[in-house]
Subunit: 366 residues, 2 copies
Amino acid sequence: MRVGVLGGGQLARMMALAGHPLGLEFAFLDPSADACAFPLGHALHGAYDDPAKLDELADFADVVTFEFENVPAAVTDRLSARVPVYPPGGALAVAQDRFVEKTLFRELGIDTADFRAVDSEVDLAAAAEELGYPLVLKTRSEGYDGKGQQVVRSAEQLASAWQAIGGRPLIAEAFVSFTREVSVVAVRSRDGEVHCYPLAENQHEDGILTVSRSQPADLIEGAAQDAAQRLLTHLEYVGVLALELFDCGGELQANEFAPRVHNSGHWTIEGATVSQFENHLRAVCGLPLGATDARGRVAMLNLIGQLPPVAPLLSLPDVHVHLYGKRARPGRKIGHLTTWAEDEATLADRFAEVCTHVGREPASVG
Amino acid sequence: MRVGVLGGGQLARMMALAGHPLGLEFAFLDPSADACAFPLGHALHGAYDDPAKLDELADFADVVTFEFENVPAAVTDRLSARVPVYPPGGALAVAQDRFVEKTLFRELGIDTADFRAVDSEVDLAAAAEELGYPLVLKTRSEGYDGKGQQVVRSAEQLASAWQAIGGRPLIAEAFVSFTREVSVVAVRSRDGEVHCYPLAENQHEDGILTVSRSQPADLIEGAAQDAAQRLLTHLEYVGVLALELFDCGGELQANEFAPRVHNSGHWTIEGATVSQFENHLRAVCGLPLGATDARGRVAMLNLIGQLPPVAPLLSLPDVHVHLYGKRARPGRKIGHLTTWAEDEATLADRFAEVCTHVGREPASVG
């Protein structure tokens, strides 16, 4: 079976590494000439909305999927006319608009921070009145890894926040005081079966995910998985989806979802029976889903901006290195490490050692 | 780092799948235009002894290794003059001659069946006199998966056996009455560290490996690993090597070794901390070796000749499908399945179910 992928970054690359053993073949459409998935399939170098390239992708593929979800509806429409496309365009459309997304969460009984649509400075002032300070102002579409966001701490900062990102549809959200950030990676098959991975606990720095840990049997796992299940079912979703939530002292508030395999699910390669990458492919190809249960405990550390010396890391027990074949650049995700252990205490020790090796404060990951 | 591989079959393919996450790049030299590793690296289509192609491989690679060991010494010599080649040519030369190989086993204190070099019908008659019947007559070089072998059960069969494979250097071996076939996959680093995987118990049909099971803590594991350790150290080996032995009621007799990753080590992908493929690459690239300890129990079943329906297999618990992207052909290895379980009893149940699905008698897999 032939899988066409919109995007040729590390997510597509890890999909291909999981998919070749299933006998799948891949083509990737990516605007970068050196997209890191290209060595693992047919390389289609071009813009995501290049009609000729999209037709080439459709010619190749038995099914098309995404590693990059911010594509115009015209792209999914063009592809869908030729070949099955999963996840469905409707799910992408929801994920592309934070206001629509949070409205849907509420409709599904999934709690969120209070929020208002903001299309003008007048709207913003009114939203601030209702939500109080601090509030978070975000673009409704695009923006990732913390880009396109402004924290407004007082009325004096309203104007500058508007200046920074105003002039397009925005959303104002009440500031969430959370205990921790968690996510649920879940997968839904073409025939509606949903499997959820155990909870992951995530840490961000400068808006970028740095650490994810698998938290099987976490106290709030059931509630988080239940929310994910409702979301996937409502969207008639096919494939892997990641739902990011804030844990506010045991109460969950949904933040956003990503309609694709997700950085907070990388731990599943070593830490679950079947990885998020393989399960995504099984889903979009119409194959039976694999088990999502955890094996042991895993902590995942992103390698961002520069590569630490790899050899010493490989000599540590149960450390697995995943490099993406990307050139190093400040702020760029170029790989990740997973540390595996049978139990939580051993994992903490091993992960502390990994952090020391990469020059990171072990205290900050505890 | 860039790895050149002689051969582009499934072993090279699984090497590449293990090596990309380490940031390695691959080129494969293979005489088949549709070699199944080609989609995972640079394809060099040509004969193994094509000087121009070998130079292209050397131009590309920081290090060269093999998935196919039956290459003339001139090939390794040509490559070695340009780029480091592991495992060393000396180990390949030993593995290419069954008489030299068994002689080395004896020198290293590793027991074997009694054997004689046979270069003529007169030699054969003399060997039969000394070894008795049945005896096994084999070509000294080449021959794999049971090809190039004759079992001689009486003096009347000597002439026909000679006719079938005589006229080139042969070896006659006393028939070994074994309890079971086992193998040890071991890896040696550039600086001489040796790690052994737990024992695998193997079943052959028509001379082709069909089933391998990991047997951690097997009674004869220590003796088998000790033999492997002596062999790798003597050969100043670098990379993965598989030593095949007969278990004759608790006494071990070495049969042969393969100077490469091996079918009886495929279980390590799911069943060991670091797989044979990754450890082979770590060794030849001068990186620290990874742990070879088992995780749970695994049974591996080769898919030979034709592909069973894959979807039902994927719905079984803890079954992992590895397809090689090769066209089906009678007798051809086109994939393998691994069944994983925490304990032996669960594994037996699950594996029986797998066998039922692929239309194989569960009774025949023990």
